[in-house]
Symmetry: C2
Subunit: 244 residues, 2 copies
């Protein structure tokens, strides 16, 4: 049996300040929940209409479909809602290639970027403090389990970029063509906001710019989606680093 | 003044069968509406809280904020809702490189793929008849105006691929590495559904497969988002065709 207080608590995890207070986040759907149970994340609770989680003993509560609808954030809830502890960010390996996100606001974009980092073996994803929270339910769902395999750190970029000597390059519409740019082993590629691009203070700090070539003489098209830009740059950077 | 019947009609365009019946679709927001008014698309009507569209004369109706909320599909409506004629698909240029989508279901994915085709100078986008309708309001919004610059055709792929001798390759998890694959001038790259991949009948017809290399020895990550895959393949294909 799920209690009224539990229902209230699970629902409260939609909101960032409640996640921070409890250090917990929610995940939905059999596939991703099963993947995260098998990951290094600490499971707090599983609420499911299915008995397949019985072996989790006290961590499992069987619920009705009505209860599932009450605690789910999805239009069509899928059998299970789980709660996990938010892990502490690990140490950042600044000798490796890193992706950094400056003011990314769309949860779907952040989720698919986490997946891209996982696919391309990027261990560290840096987000400035204004970027959408990676434990937002929509980000977690879009990350499809990759959230447990990428070390995500929220940082004050201005402070970090000024204090540490880092190998920074910003993706921008006006820069050196990606095809000519020489990506380094410790390259950090910074991507800006979906509609506003890089923030002015980051533009001031980072002088290196890299651009994805446009193959259209019609300049009506101004940009492509930021997650697609990350995809293209990561593919190029990794193919180049490994000598294709 | 907008009439009750007009409100009903505009709202009805959310549904595919009503768009087909009227041959019209809706677009929202100043930036994309202005871009489409300047495009080759035929404007039917502009409803706006702003007087900036007055010069459109009979095609313009000034509306209240309350009316805007009634006809908008967005959470935070932005000044203007416009209706355009659905254009007839143009002839397909099979001598050029083409992207083909087999059962893509997410409107956001289709919208960003249309933008990618525009960016990379792909003139023709083929969709099988099961792929989400490109005049779905969510697709139009995500395409950000590119919908007027890419020739989108809905076709029976099985029939097309069997009848015409085409240079087909399917993006798949098990195939030749994209880095070694030799893309042709008339290459058609086919992408499958977000969770199910290529449909069995298409798999039977297309023998060539191309794969985006994964740089992660951890095989927990199964795939990346389909729009990101299109982004990576298009970048590689175009860079290669133009000799970088």
């Amino acid at each position: 049996m799920i209690t009224k207080n539990e229902i209230k608590f699970v629902r409260s995890l939609k909101i960032k300040k409640n996640r921070i207070k409890s250090d917990q986040f929610i995940v939905e759907g059999e596939k991703i929940v099963d993947e995260l149970i098998d990951s290094s994340l600490e499971l707090v609770k599983v609420y499911s209409t299915s008995s397949k989680y019985e072996s989790l003993d006290k961590l499992y509560t069987k619920i009705s479909k009505t209860n599932l609808l009450q605690i789910s954030n999805l239009k069509t809830p899928n059998k299970v809602v789980a709660i996990f502890k938010i892990p502490k960010s690990g140490e950042i390996d600044f000798t490796s290639q890193i992706i950094a996100l400056d003011n990314i606001s769309d949860p779907g974009n952040l989720g698919t970027i986490i997946r891209l980092c996982d696919w391309f073996g990027i261990k560290d994803l840096l987000c400035n403090t204004e970027t959408v929270d990676c434990y937002n339910p929509k980000v977690v769902q879009a990350s499809m389990g990759s959230i447990s395999r990428v070390n995500i750190s929220y940082l004050d970029f201005k402070k970090l970029f000024i204090e540490k000597k880092l190998n920074l390059v910003a993706a921008d519409l006006k820069g050196e063509s990606m095809n000519k740019f020489s990506f380094q082993e410790n390259q950090i590629v910074v991507f800006g906001n979906e509609s506003l691009g890089l923030s002015p203070e980051i533009k001031k700090i980072i002088k290196n710019r890299v651009t994805i070539p446009r193959y259209n003489s019609n300049y009506d098209i101004e940009s492509i989606n930021v997650a697609n830009s990350v995809a293209i740059i990561l593919s190029e950077l990794k193919n180049r680093s490994t000598g294709r």
